[in-house]
């Protein structure tokens, strides 16, 4: 009779051994999940140390079980982290658990304090301190001059309501202004500027402070990218009338692009955005732009 090979014996024995290891992993994953008292303790720490301008995020960002206990605070409840947006806060509380227990701060950030409980950690981080947000185009949407450039005429959109500029009546998607949309992995606060057929959508901020760096983000919403309808969309940025960025967003592009544009001189600048597409179906373009300046005595640029 043929003997059972060592290979077969090894495979056969590996299965129960792997099952024991698997069970260990199972128990580990279950026991490390925070329970209500763990979240309560984390929330207590945050509440006690809270200062105006702070922000709470989670690590991993999806583990937001503590959020109901953080009422009244500024909490990032998006699906994935956005350290750029978080860096606008003066300090960031990071509630860590499971995979994200005891997280590491991004480059340039400073750890102010760390408290590690049994299942939840609470870290307090400070974003890079050498710069300050001088002007946010989204926050100053009221300053914008929005228009639609048709083949033979320009139409000024003068109806401002709830941080949205409309050309005429309030419309569910024909506007330029604030919106919250799922873009490239998380819900973001953005300037919404849906492309329009045979029309260039234009938004101008005529007096953006000078002497700094303009950080621009742009992209299509999740829904636009997954719909993949229409045609590629042109996104242009002009600084004092000169094109500084020309990008074409493909119909299924999921990326949240970014670029830093230096603005020299202390005089205010005109920043202009133009969005157009030969096929505007579902071309939900969104963008943000922030002007950052060095803090006195630092040279972050």
């Amino acid at each position: 009779m043929r003997k059972t090979s060592w290979l077969l014996i090894s495979i056969g024995l590996l299965i129960p051994v792997a099952s024991i290891v698997y069970f260990g992993m199972d128990l580990f994953y279950v026991q490390r999940a925070p329970a209500a008292p763990d979240w309560q303790e984390a929330a207590r720490v945050v509440h006690e140390g809270w200062k105006e301008g702070d922000l709470v995020v989670f690590s991993p960002q999806w583990a937001q079980g503590a959020s109901p206990l953080l009422k009244g605070l500024k909490v990032d409840t998006a699906e994935n982290p956005d350290w750029y947006e978080a860096s606008k806060a003066s300090r960031v509380w990071v509630i860590g658990s499971m995979d994200g227990f005891d997280p590491e701060p991004p480059d340039g950030w400073k750890t102010l304090s760390e408290i590690a409980g049994s299942k939840v950690s609470v870290d307090l981080w400070q974003p890079p301190s050498g710069r300050e947000l001088a002007y946010s185009l989204l926050d100053n949407i009221d300053d914008a001059v929005v228009s639609r450039i048709h083949p033979k005429r320009r139409e000024i959109c003068s109806n401002l309501k709830d941080s949205r500029w409309y050309c005429g009546k309030v419309h569910s998607w024909l506007f330029v202004g604030h919106s919250r949309k799922d873009i490239a992995g998380r819900v973001r606060d953005v300037v919404w500027a849906h492309a329009i057929d045979r029309t260039v959508v234009e938004a101008v901020w005529p007096k953006v402070p000078g002497d700094g760096t303009l950080t621009v983000h742009w992209g299509l919403t999740q829904r636009a990218a997954e719909a993949a309808e229409g045609k590629p969309t042109s996104f242009k940025v002009f600084l004092n009338g000169k094109a500084v960025l020309e990008d074409t967003l493909e119909v299924d592009e999921h990326t949240w692009h970014t670029i830093d544009i230096p603005i020299k001189g202390t005089e205010p600048s005109e920043v202009k955005f133009q969005i157009s597409s030969p096929g505007a179906q579902s071309r939900q373009v969104c963008f943000t732009a922030d002007l950052w300046r060095s803090k006195a005595g630092t040279d972050f640029l």
Partner: protein, 626 residues
Amino acid sequence: MTHGIRKADILVGALLAACYFVMLMLTLDIGFPRDEGFYFKAGEEYSYWYDDLVTSPSTAFSKKSINKHFAYNPEHPALPKMMFGLSWRLFGKMHDPVKEPWSKVWYHKTKPPKPIFGIMSESTAMRLPALILNSLLVMFIFLFGVDFFSRRVGFVAAAAWMFLPHTFWHSHLACFDMPVTAMWFLVAWLFLKATPPLEERRKNRARTWKFAIAAGVAWGLSMSTKHNAWFIPAVFVIWYLIARWDEVLPRDANGRRRPAFGNIPPAFWMMLLLGPLVFYLTWPKLWFDPIDHLSFYIARHAKHEFYWAYFFGTLHTKPPFPISFPFVMSAMTIPGPIVLLSIAGLGTAFSQWIKRRQGREWKIAVPIPAAYRDTILFVFLNALIPFAIIAAPSTPIFGGTKHWLPGVAFLMLFVGIGFDLVVAAIDGLRERFRLRWGKSARAALVALCLAVVLTPAAFDTFHGHTNGSTYYNAFFGGFGAMGRHGMQREFWGNTAFSALPWLNRNAPKNAQVHFHDTAWDSVRMYWRDGLLRRDIKPRWDYQKADYFLFHWHKEFLDREETGRTALGSDIPAFVVEQDGVPLLNVYERPPRKPAPARLPVVRPEPPPGKQPPRDRAEEAPGGNNR
């Protein structure tokens, strides 16, 4: 020859099925997903046809009666819903409209029927037929294993099936996915019993015809359960053409192949004949309008809308869908040890097939104890094709794992074969080291190994069973895989169930709740089962609702924003989570600012002996119970 089933085997199978039934009955705290809500409604409406049947049978079979009672949910066969409705009428504990007048609106035409036995909650009564059939599937798997492989293969396959968190979760529901899995398995078993090799069929014609007729009837019933069953004959034909083509194209005396249609197994003929007949008879909507309704039915499912699936951080909304989806999802949502055993089983079968083809059968150390050489192929095709249907890039993906469950049931037989490898390893060790274990010591060791592979699966099944459809195995991070890998979390509106106790405790009187993805008919059943306070009203209107239950689906994140903005609350008041992963967020509208104070209105004193009229709403016990 098959290995044959003894009475003791049937007893063991029945015991396993009974165990499963008890497991299901003890874990009924599972919410009502959207489709189940629709089937509750259909079951209820269809059940009134039985009244016609009892009071006036001739009326019951009229077109008018059929159109009246079976109008709802015509896109699925009626049989399961008729069973749900029948069970509900027999066993459901309905509300008494006299004692509880407010309950009238929870029922079809505001007339709750009188309970007959009234021994269980209404939802459990609706679910009962599926619970029974799904439990019987455990017995089918065991007996199939005994019949065509060995007792051990059958037992391990059945036990493994019992501890699959997703199937266990689906087994609770008054839906069609598990019943059609059971029916597919039954049809395949009967078909295979009716289709031994030609020689054997000729020897035992009576037995062959008995099982062929049974297979035909069972296929008709399975078509009347869900449309997955339409694929069954294709699987059998493919198998037959690969494995038994010699029967239909035998060589004549000259060595030429001639078709021999008389050799086509009776099971095919019976399926062709009895299947459509049973299908027709068990779907009343076909009785008076067979062509039109069948055309509607086929068109509805041939052009089904695409549901969205969140798979490794990408939201798939339209074709082409990833071919890997059903395979990877199963690898992630079947407990790790069972995945390993199924791989071992498939590997064993494949390597033996190769060795046989190469004429190196002597190299096979642990031959699979299959009744026929082509049994493995039959099981493999029945396992593979349900996966392959969903893997086709143009097939709609529904986000979960339920649509290829018929294949998973057959995969369990490979799990049983895989476990034989573990036993072979134990025997190999004894042989190599010349260990002197007795029979009982060996049996104890085998049992221990089985316990080692099944215990984690059982743990996975019972831990978080309420959210069993969101389970991912520990090799991928457990439930945390949902967040970590960007996978589907909530199923379809059932997680509201876990928020009900919180709502019942915290919502003010007459609170209005936006239930998001939970269907109205599911909410009605929550009321009827006493799981939701009766003054809490569903209101799918962000502007008017006091609460918004956001069921975590990637595709709904924009709606979450709309809801949060409308309610004026960015932070949930309550989160339903499983092992740290949020599945549902409850948003609460902050208290509205008090209305500006008004100048007191001075009313003249009523004349002595006359009291001013009181607010009728204050008088009504329970407030808004009209």
